[in-house]
């Protein structure tokens, strides 16, 4: 436990956390620009070139606005609730493997905050804690619309954690491990010679279930009834001003980044380039660190594709009604998830370990 070890640990945690937090301003800009493009209007273009400084303006606005606390609320919980959303969102990034080893200070460092041997369950567990911020936020707001919104949002998140878990079970079956890092390492090379050896080709249905469930988990359209902008005002965060509101949003975007990260790691090969194996790249490049940079870049690219997909779908599809949402989860996604597991199990038995 030398000082160098401690510094490396601290560096890993802080750098990765800051990097994920940077996703938030990028997403704010991307969301508004893409929304504008889809809706055939220019979007933010006043603040800075092409409106690129818009997130900065937004951040400043949030910081400098008044922070009203309504009467009769439970002050402690009211103040605490946005952070109850933020803390799990920050903690869950610890399990995502970003790249293979880098060599610094004479040691090999894995670019992942915590390589638990149960990282997948860790992600599911911490993800299930995201419900508390919503529940307490709605309850502490002394506003019956917030309360309804938060109960509905909580029911939605809770109903969609199950399909998420079932899709993950499918992935665990194929890879035989809970560790996300192991899963990425196993996705190297090619499958049948033509396709990259990615999880999505082993578990296509699992991927689709995971995709749909992740939309619901992060309260994104088409599942954003609880924060529906036209119906319940702003749902459970009606009464929250300035930075607390911004904190909820930070948590939401960070959850998005995490879900995208999960999907790339489990189903799309994580840091691997499609057909090239790592060993060959190492030969070409010569240096482990250079390889590491390429891996990080690949990972970021894949995650960006998913984040873009989230934004695209948000501004394209109409919203689900609440009972449609629940029927989709309990009535369709969970049965499909179970069938997926059975089919995969049978296939694995028949093919003798695919």
């Amino acid at each position: 436990m030398t000082l160098i070890d401690f510094i490396i640990a601290a560096l890993k945690a802080i750098v990765i956390l800051v990097a994920v937090i940077q996703v938030v301003p990028v997403m704010i800009y991307v969301e508004r620009k893409v929304a504008a493009l889809i809706q055939d209007r220019p979007g933010p273009n006043r603040v800075g070139p092409f409106g690129l400084l818009q997130p900065v303006a937004d951040a400043l606005k949030f910081l400098l606005k008044e922070d009203p606390i309504p009467h009769y609320t439970n002050r402690l919980l009211y103040t605490l609730a946005p952070f109850l959303s933020l803390i799990p969102a920050c903690l869950v990034i610890a399990a995502l493997p970003i790249a293979d080893k880098a060599v610094l200070f004479g040691r090999e460092i894995t670019i992942q905050i915590a390589d638990l041997d149960v990282s997948l369950i860790y992600v599911l567990a911490i993800g299930s804690l995201g419900v508390y911020g919503i529940l307490f936020g709605g309850w502490a707001s002394n506003n019956k619309f917030s309360l309804i919104g938060s109960l509905r949002s909580a029911s939605q998140m809770v109903s969609y954690e199950l399909p998420l878990g079932l899709a993950a079970v499918g992935a665990v079956m194929v890879f035989g491990t809970f560790s996300l890092r192991e899963m990425v390492i196993q996705q190297e090379g090619t499958l049948l010679g033509i396709l990259p050896n990615w999880g999505v080709f082993y578990q296509p249905i699992g991927f689709l279930i995971f995709l749909v469930a992740s939309f619901a988990e992060t309260n994104r359209l088409p599942f954003d009834l609880p924060e529906s902008e036209a119906e319940l005002v702003a749902g459970f965060h009606t009464e929250y001003g300035s930075m607390k509101f911004a904190t909820f949003f930070m948590a939401e975007y960070m959850n998005l980044a995490t879900m995208s990260g999960l999907m790339t790691v489990i189903y799309f090969g994580g840091w691997h380039l499609p057909w090239v194996s790592d060993a060959k790249l190492l030969e070409i490049l010569g240096s482990q660190n250079l390889l590491c940079i390429i891996q990080v870049a690949t990972y970021i690219f894949k995650v960006s594709v998913f984040m873009f997909l989230y934004v695209l779908i948000r501004w394209t599809l109409p919203r689900f009604r609440f009972d449609q949402l629940l029927t989709l989860s309990w009535g369709s996604l969970i049965p499909i998830g179970l069938i997926n597991i059975v089919v995969s199990a049978v296939l694995m038995y028949v093919l003798g370990g695919k």
Binding site: N74, L116, D117, L124, A125, S128, L129, Y132, F136, L147
Partner: protein, 167 residues
């Protein structure tokens, strides 16, 4: 070093558990309960029981307390009337708890031999647990599932929505 972390998390667990009981507001109790489960999960992690700690958070902190909070939010609890507990009751209950703790400590130390250290027993990896679950403990596992099924039916019998709720 490990002992220091262990002491910290044990104290944390105990304090939040006390918070569950002593809080005036029931939502604070629920929140303290979540923190208590976190403390427990950290303790499991210290022992190397990673699977158990994650399942603890997943199920206890992530589902059971959520259920509690749902119920609290749906039933608008009144503030309990302030009533000072009589001193004699405090004394007697403390004596009772201490006696129980001493008895438990004695029984456990007799059966375990010595207090287990903070080293990871080799048998506790996830794979071994899983293998055991499906070979030696297969029947309890299946019986548990039947039990869960009975629970599902029971919940519906108990909490059937009223007939006036038309679709």
């Amino acid at each position: 070093m490990k002992e220091a972390v262990f002491t910290f998390f044990s104290l944390f667990t105990l304090l939040t558990a006390a918070g569950v009981i002593l809080s005036r507001n029931i939502i604070y109790s629920a929140f303290n309960l979540v923190l208590c489960f976190f403390g427990l999960a950290s303790l499991y992690l210290l022992w190397g029981a990673t699977f158990l700690s994650m399942i603890q958070i997943l199920i206890y902190a992530g589902a059971i307390v959520v259920l509690f909070v749902f119920v609290v939010m749906l039933l608008n609890f009144e503030k309990p009337t302030e009533q000072k507990t009589r001193f004699s009751i405090i004394v007697l209950s403390s004596a009772g708890v201490w006696t129980l703790a001493l008895i438990l400590l004695r029984v456990l130390s007799k059966s375990l031999g010595e207090i287990p250290s903070l080293e990871t027993p080799a048998k506790a990896s996830v794979r071994t647990i899983s293998k055991l679950l499906f070979s030696q403990y297969l029947w309890p596992f299946e019986v548990l599932t039947v039990f869960l099924l009975a629970l599902i039916v029971g919940i519906f019998v108990l909490a059937r929505p009223e007939k006036e709720e038309t679709p």
